[in-house]
C-alpha cells in the first residue's frame, strides 16, 4: 500500500502538497497538481483511513448497539442507518449486546470516542449510567426508538409516537365494529411497550369499550411468544373477536394460534400488530398493522448524531439547536440532555388480517 510520502517522492513534491491536492485544499499549481495526480494513480494510492482519522482527531465509524441483529426488526433499521452514516462519511460497526448490559458496557468502553465517533442505541438493554458516562467522555449517544415523545429521556433521542400507534390500532378495530378485544403486549408489564398499550387502552376507553385485565397477556416479543399468549387468551376468552399485539412478531404468532385452534383470520378473528416489518406483508393472510417510519427514524438518528458530533468538536460552546419544548436553556448540558426529534406519525396499514366481526360468534 503506497503512502502519501511515496506519492510525494514520485511526484517530486512533499507530502503536504499531495495532501493539499487530494483534499482540494489551498492553491496548488496546475502543473504540480497534474504530476501529483499522475503519481497517485500510478501507485494506486488510497488514503489510510485510520491514519487520517487519528490526524484529524476524529473516528471513522459510528457504532450501532442492538441486542441482536438477528431480530427481524433491526436489519431494516440497520440498513437505513448505514446508508445515512455513509452519507456523513462514517462506516457502521454493529455491536450485538445479546441483551447483556455487561457486553454493552464493554463495547462502549472500547470503541466510544476511540474508534466510533458516536453511538446509536436500539433497544439493547443497556445501562443508562454507561450511556451517560459515554456522553461525558465526549462520544455523543442517540437513542433510536424512544417510545414516549411526551416523556423525553435524559439523552438525545429520536422518538416515535407509539402511543398513537396503539390508538390507531384500537381505532381500526373499533371502526370495524369489534368490542371484545384481547391484547398481547410484547414486553413486561410497564416495560418497553407500555406506551403502545396505553394508547390502545385509552382509545378503547374513550370509545366506551371494556378491556378487562383478564384479556391482556404479556409475552415474549416473538412469534412464539405471541402464539402462546394467543392460545392462552383464546382458551380463556373464546368470545374475543379481535386481538391487538404490540408488535408484528407476536401478531404473527397470534395468527398461527388462531389457525391451530380452527379459527379463520379474519372471519373468526381479527389480528392487528404494530411496526410493519417486511414479514407483515408476506404473511398469510397479510397482516394489518400500524406502520412505523423505521427508515426515517434511522435517518433522523444518524443526522442528530452527526450534529452532536459536530458540536462536540467545535467545543460545545456555541449555539443551542433544537430542543424539547418547554425547556429553558440552562447551559449546553441540559440542552443536550433533552434533545429530541420526533418522526412522522405512524399510519394504519389495513390488510387482510382484520375484518368486521361475525355476528354469529358465540
Amino acid at each position: 500500500m503506497a503512502t502519501l510520502n511515496e506519492v510525494a517522492l514520485r511526484a517530486g513534491v512533499t507530502s503536504a502538497t499531495v495532501s493539499n491536492v487530494l483534499r482540494q485544499r489551498g492553491r496548488v499549481g496546475e502543473a504540480t497538481r497534474q504530476r501529483v495526480l499522475a503519481a497517485v494513480s500510478a501507485l494506486g494510492y488510497r488514503p489510510h483511513l485510520t491514519a487520517r482519522a487519528l490526524a484529524e482527531g476524529r473516528a471513522p465509524t459510528l457504532a450501532l448497539m442492538v441486542s441482536s441483529i438477528a431480530n427481524p426488526f433491526y436489519p431494516e433499521f440497520a440498513l437505513a442507518a448505514e446508508r445515512a452514516a455513509r452519507r456523513s462519511g462514517h462506516f457502521m460497526i454493529v455491536c450485538n449486546t445479546n441483551e447483556d448490559p455487561e457486553v454493552g458496557r464493554a463495547y462502549l468502553e472500547q470503541i466510544a470516542g476511540t474508534l466510533s465517533e458516536g453511538v446509536l442505541v436500539m433497544n439493547a438493554n443497556l445501562d443508562f449510567e454507561d450511556l451517560y458516562k459515554t456522553e461525558r467522555r465526549g462520544a455523543p449517544v442517540v437513542l433510536c426508538m424512544w417510545e414516549r415523545p411526551d416523556q423525553p429521556p435524559d439523552l438525545p433521542c429520536v422518538a416515535v409516537d407509539f402511543r398513537a400507534a396503539g390508538a390507531i390500532a384500537a381505532q381500526h378495530l373499533l371502526d370495524l365494529g369489534h368490542t371484545r378485544i384481547g391484547s398481547i403486549i410484547g414486553s413486561k408489564r410497564g416495560g418497553i411497550h407500555a406506551a403502545r398499550q396505553d394508547g390502545f387502552r385509552e382509545a378503547l376507553r374513550a370509545a366506551g369499550v371494556r378491556h378487562p385485565q383478564s384479556t391482556v397477556r404479556f409475552a415474549h416479543d416473538s412469534i412464539r411468544g405471541g402464539y402462546q399468549a394467543a392460545c392462552s387468551l383464546l382458551e380463556t376468552h373464546p368470545e374475543l373477536t379481535a386481538i391487538f399485539a404490540s408488535n408484528d412478531l407476536p401478531a404473527l404468532g397470534a395468527m398461527h394460534a388462531a389457525a391451530d385452534l380452527g379459527l379463520r383470520v379474519p372471519q373468526d378473528l381479527s389480528v392487528v400488530g404494530i411496526t410493519d416489518i417486511e414479514l407483515a406483508r408476506e404473511s398469510r393472510p397479510a397482516l394489518s398493522t400500524v406502520a412505523v417510519p423505521t427508515c426515517q427514524a434511522a435517518e433522523m438518528a444518524v443526522d442528530l448524531l452527526r450534529q452532536l458530533i459536530e458540536r462536540a468538536q467545535r467545543g460545545a460552546a456555541t449555539d443551542v439547536g433544537v430542543r424539547a419544548a418547554g425547556m429553558e436553556a440552562t447551559g449546553a448540558e441540559a440542552v443536550l440532555a433533552t434533545m429530541m426529534r420526533v418522526t412522522s406519525a405512524p399510519i394504519l396499514m389495513a390488510r387482510a388480517s382484520t375484518a368486521e366481526p361475525r355476528a354469529s360468534k358465540p
Copy 2:
C-alpha cells in the same frame, strides 16, 4: 479522554512504562505498576483504538460485505460472524452493497487494508477483479458461502456442500414416495443456486424419477418470487405432489401459493426448502428444509480470515497451511488462491410441510 501521556505524568513515569503495564508486557516493578494502575483508573484512561491500530500496523475491524443486511439469511450469519470477530479482537463493519458492484468497489477501495484488516464476502454480487485487487493490496478476502466444494474458486473460501443439500431434499421427497415434483430455483439458470439444483436433479435421476424442464422455475430469491413461481408451476402442472425450492424464502412463498390455490400442505402438496432460516421453524406448517451450518460457516470464515491476516503480517513467506486437494504448491500466491474450508454436511430437518403424497391426487 485521558491519554497515555497524561497517565504517565500522573504516575511519574513515562508513557512507555504505562504501555508496558497495560499490555502486561515486560517486567515492571510492582510499586510502579500499582502507581500506574492507580493513575489509569483515576483518570478513567481507555486506550485509543485508532491510535493503537496505527502504531501496531494493523486495522481494528473486519468488513462484512452483503448485498443487504435486510435479507433474512444474513443477520443470522452476521451475528455469528461478529461474535467470532470479537474473539479475534476485531469489530465488524457491515457493508451493504445493494447488489451494486460499484458500491462494493467503493467500499473495498476505502476500507480494505486501511480500516479493515480483512474482508468477508457474502453473496454480494461483487466483481471478482476487485477482490483480487484487494487481496494483492494485502487485505485478505474470504468468500463465506461457496456453493461448490468440488470447484474451489480462486479465492480463499468457506464452502458448504449445497449440492448435497439438494440431494438430501430430493431423497426426502423420494423417501416419502413422491414422483411428480416441481422445483423452484431462487437464482438465474446456472446462477448461484446451480449446485443445489444439480444435486436435486441428480438424486431424482439416480432414483429413476422424471423431472422435465417444464417443472422447473427460476425465480427471485424471496417469498414473493417463490409464490409466483409456485402459482405458475401448479397451474401448468396440477399433477405435482411436491415442490422443492432451492432456498427457504421461495419455499415459504410456495406454501402461500398452495394455500391460495386451495391446496393443503402437506396433504395435497409437500414443500421442502434449503437453509433452515429461523422463519422456517415459525411458519405454518413448519417448513421441512435442509439445514445448512450457518454459524459454523461464519466461524470458519472469520477463523480463516484471521489466519490469512496473520500470515500476511508475518510476510507471507512461511508455511503452507490447508489447501485444496490435488493442487501442487506453486508459491504462496497459488496456495492462497485455492485455500478452502468445508463445513460439516447439511442435514435434513423434516417438519410439517412434507408428507406422503395422497394416492387420490388427480
